[in-house]
Symmetry: C2
Subunit: 220 residues, 2 copies
DNA sequence: GTCTCGGCAAATGTCGACAATCGACATCCG
DNA sequence: CGGATGTCGATTGTCGACATTTGCCGAGAC
């Protein structure tokens, strides 16, 4: 593109994101370099770079001499990923606990209500957006760069892979309550509680997503 | 090459690792693609792939249109990285707490003694090796793939960047005691204690490394 | 003396073509 | 008929050349 002064790589990455979100690329599918190249009117070089980055982010898996495939996580791997995210985000939030102002907390509570509203009306896109914003606000208070980087990566990965199912996992009330509970714990300013709460938050979701996949289709 | 059926990329990655360990590449140095290419008798394509992987692992940083540079962490970033590793490894070990047999624990204690011995005799290479083995045995008991992957990456990064200083941070007795303390805590089989112990273990080391760098040279 | 502008060298970004490898199908032999 | 083997198409791996961008350096104006 022109707007982004940087290279084609990011453009390709964005394109693949989109394909993933639209469901045009599903777990297990092979991602062909030449196909993407002709699609985007580029040579294979920038495509390969983009794909490699996606592999690094865990969205694709790479088999040498064979190709890149959309990551297909087993139920166990799904749970693992969510558990790990809970660990990272829990710690990040705990580290930044003192940094949360009353205003922040009220913003978060407002998000809870909005999430419920959007969920109730079936506005999936807005729901996702607010949800992302919610957690973003949470772990971005931390100033541990390394921690944030890993959290972002994992968050991004889970977001793209399980994007579609968010609305079918919990009822609108559950969504609201679960997130309000987090804000509640945040208010108490006790590190271990905060860590524990976020771990459980993601642990539950991981279990649900994994069960969902187990029922609907066999992963891997 | 022939012995390794996989691609040149891994070969290049290994080569850069070596250069880093030997101190031929230092933080801040630019890593030139064409230079590596002629050095290894390859074209720039596999070099670029390898460098990109190294960027993903955090060993290099990448400036678009400019090049790749050996990561130069600020003191804060050094501490952050160690803290994060403590978080990950602490959790991984805690998760696998029941999996540690008495035999494992005795092996670990044996490692402690060997580390002290090698440190005392100035055998840096062996010291590093055992140290790596020690922590490897610790977090590899976990079966959380995602967690292990991140831990490995971070471990690898810190290993390569601060490899050289290990022996100068602690006395041989301290090295032994610090690791024996970990085994001790492991024996008690109490999750929170284990997590806490590993966090502190790496926190301390991070502080030391950061201070070391602050005194000897200005990072970044 | 300092600042600005323009051009030059060097490095990265991209391209199209060729080589090596893998998977699948067809074929051959027991 | 079943399993091993050879061949073919498709895809990735690698290459060398070209395009573009960056940062430096020096000439010239103020």
């Amino acid at each position: 593109m022109v707007i982004n002064k940087s290279t084609y790589k990011d453009y390709v990455v964005a394109h693949v994101y989109e394909r993933l979100q639209k469901g045009e690329l599903n777990p297990g599918d092979q991602v062909l370099e030449s196909r993407l190249a002709t699609e985007l009117g580029l040579s294979r070089a920038p495509i390969r770079e983009a794909l490699q980055q996606l592999v690094g982010d865990g969205l694709l898996t790479y088999k040498p001499q064979v190709g890149n495939f959309v990551a297909a996580l087993s139920p166990k791997e799904i749970i693992d990923a969510y558990v790990t995210r809970g660990l990272l985000e829990g710690f990040a939030v705990a580290e930044a606990l003192e940094g949360f102002t009353e205003e922040d907390l009220e913003d978060l509570e407002e998000y809870c209500l909005q999430m419920e509203k959007h969920a109730r009306r079936g506005k999936q896109k807005e729901l996702i957006e607010i949800g992302t914003e919610f957690h973003h606000l949470l772990f971005n208070k931390s100033n541990n760069i390394q921690l944030i980087e890993y959290t972002q990566r994992l968050s991004h990965k889970l977001h793209l892979l399980f994007y579609k199912h968010w609305a079918s996992l919990y009822t609108p009330e559950e969504i609201r309550d679960r997130h309000q509970a987090l804000v509640c714990v945040l208010r108490r300013k006790e590190r271990p509680l905060v860590e524990q709460a976020l771990r459980e938050h993601y642990n539950e979701t991981g279990q649900k997503v994994a069960r969902f996949y187990n029922e609907n289709e066999e992963g891997v």
